[in-house]
């Protein structure tokens, strides 16, 4: 319940404020969002499997975001930022899909 409220508040804030992403953060925000989505799906899956732990979720989400941003940052420094961010998105996308498949099995038994 409180999670849903928080999501609504976040969406409304984003729509109302319409903040401009700082130029320095522009390469990292999409990757961070994808990493957070991955952590979110992982958390839902864990919750469905009754092994959800709030501390683990918070740490994994923040860690995911930081690692993803770090990878892209290092990639940019090495001159392979575009390729690395593509790789990160691919890997996270695969994980999101497998988590989504597990969630689907839990909810629909298929």
């Amino acid at each position: 319940m409180i999670v849903g409220l928080a999501v609504v508040v976040g969406v409304v804030l984003g729509l109302v404020l319409q903040p401009t992403v700082p130029v320095d953060l522009q390469p990292y925000l999409p990757i961070a969002v994808v990493a957070a989505l991955d952590a979110l799906f992982g958390g839902v899956r864990a919750w469905l499997e009754r092994i959800f732990d709030e501390k683990v979720f918070v740490v994994s989400l923040i860690g995911n975001v930081l690692v993803a941003a770090l990878v892209v940052f290092v990639g940019d420094k090495l001159g392979v930022g575009g390729e690395l961010s593509t790789g990160v998105v691919v890997v996270l996308g695969i994980r999101i899909f497998s988590n989504a498949a597990a969630i689907r099995r839990h909810l629909f038994g298929a």
Partner: protein
Amino acid sequence: MTTPQPAGVDSRDAWRRIRRVLTARPGGRQTGVAVLCGVLAFALVTQVHSTSAAGGGLASARPDDLLGISSDLAARADRLRAEIAALEASARRLSSATDQGAAALREVRARARALGILTGTVAARGPGIVLTITDPRASVSADLLLSAVEELRDAGAEVLQLNGVRIVAQTAFLPGPGGAVEVGGTVVSAPYRLAAIGQPRTLAGALGIPGGVLDAVAGRPGARAVVTQSPSLSVTALRAPQADRYARPAR
């Protein structure tokens, strides 16, 4: 997915737990999760907005991607320029071919007009003379008329017409019934009116030389010949074009 269902998974139980969570009273235990989810939602909306806002994402693209896009566009522009050049060349070729075709058509038309005057398929106009022969006693024969025509041709007559019959290379002069003359298959009777387009003075002089046509006509009983010069004479009698039965162009 064909993964077998793991043991202990009960989807009805899962749905029950979801319902319970969604309807539960707000408590303090999920604060961290809630804050993170709110931040995530905020970031997601911000990112979507900034991607869809500025120049279709070009503003947030990284320099490498911009370079790639730019070189793609340059290559495409080159290709399109080459295509434009090829199309313009072919347009020039086609238009010059059209010009050549038009010139050829003009020349063919001019030649057809000239040949039409020669073969009697088009009307003609120009300076010339009219030779009028009155012959109440039918004493003027076909060969006299033919010699008049030949005399006029020798003097440079270009177009000839006798009483509505165009005289061309194939026109024959034969004696007709009752003292008349058959000219090119048409029976012609006196008075004869022979129109010739050419230099009027030359034509008149050719007819008037001593022992010439005028003298010959005067020698026939009852016949009289009058030559009228005219600065503008029109010959309107036509001859239907006929395909040659025997002659073919030799290559």
